[in-house]
Symmetry: none
Subunit: 156 residues, 2 copies
């Protein structure tokens, strides 16, 4: 309970304590000032220095640091001997039903015309699907598409 409170309000507590210390120092300096005499300059100077420090400390502690993002690409080697479809990867490709069907038939070595026959659509349609599919897989040829899809675990 208490420790949790301390944890969540750590910064506020530390800040409060710091202020208390500062006020104490202030009082102490005031005392000194009265005892020693009329050294306004020294008094003010000390306060200035101390509170400048406090300000710096506060800013460093409490202010959100400007973040400079450095992007480091970390390769992850995904091997897929288990013929379980990697649905995650499949989702990320944004492939549509039809495009996947075309891709699957491509992987079986069918020509576009044969695929058109299987799917009961025209050759042009198959071409459109394949073109889209190549874009989504970021490849140039059907052989590349099949290779990549298999590596990704989209195809068995």
């Amino acid at each position: 309970m208490i420790s949790k409170f301390i944890k969540t309000h750590k910064q506020s507590i530390v800040y409060g304590l710091a202020m208390a210390v500062m006020l104490f120092v202030l009082k102490w300096l005031e005392l000194k000032f009265i005892i020693i005499g009329h050294s306004f300059e020294i008094y003010a100077g000390l306060i200035a220095v101390i509170f400048t420090g406090l300000g710096i400390w506060l800013a460093l502690k409490l202010a959100q640091p400007k973040e400079k993002t450095v992007i480091v690409e970390k390769p992850i080697y995904v091997s897929n001997e288990n013929f379980v479809v990697n649905y995650e990867a499949l989702q990320q490709t944004n492939m549509s039903r039809r495009e996947l069907e075309v891709l699957e038939l491509m992987a079986e070595g069918l020509s576009n015309l044969e695929i058109a026959g299987r799917l009961f659509v025209s050759l042009n349609t198959v071409k459109t699907h394949s073109a889209r599919l190549f874009e989504k897989l970021d490849v140039k040829r059907r052989t590349q598409a099949v290779d990549k899809a298999k590596r990704m675990g989209i195809l068995k």
Copy 2:
């Protein structure tokens, strides 16, 4: 010349000016203090607040922005590494070295021209190899060849 100097020493100049202003305020406050009377508290408090602000401002201005490294995971899809070539099947195909090489590059999705580049031979040579290879695998297209070879265990 001068503008360059200002640019390169901008922060120092600003800092100096800020200090000057602070000292001026200090002096002004001192004057006020003398005129108004013995309000040590107000004087000290004002200085404390002002210099705390100065400290915060300084820290924010001069502090180096923290670098935050964001690791972006970039998946590299790798297929089965523990793959054993089915040499028996490979023998039965009667494939030559070169034909196998061409087949392997085909499986990677390379075009005939790209394969020619890799093997330091002409496009025509690759074509003849591929034609022979298709015969031996009893297929009509490169995609079929790759598919069949993989099923046979010739390719990974």
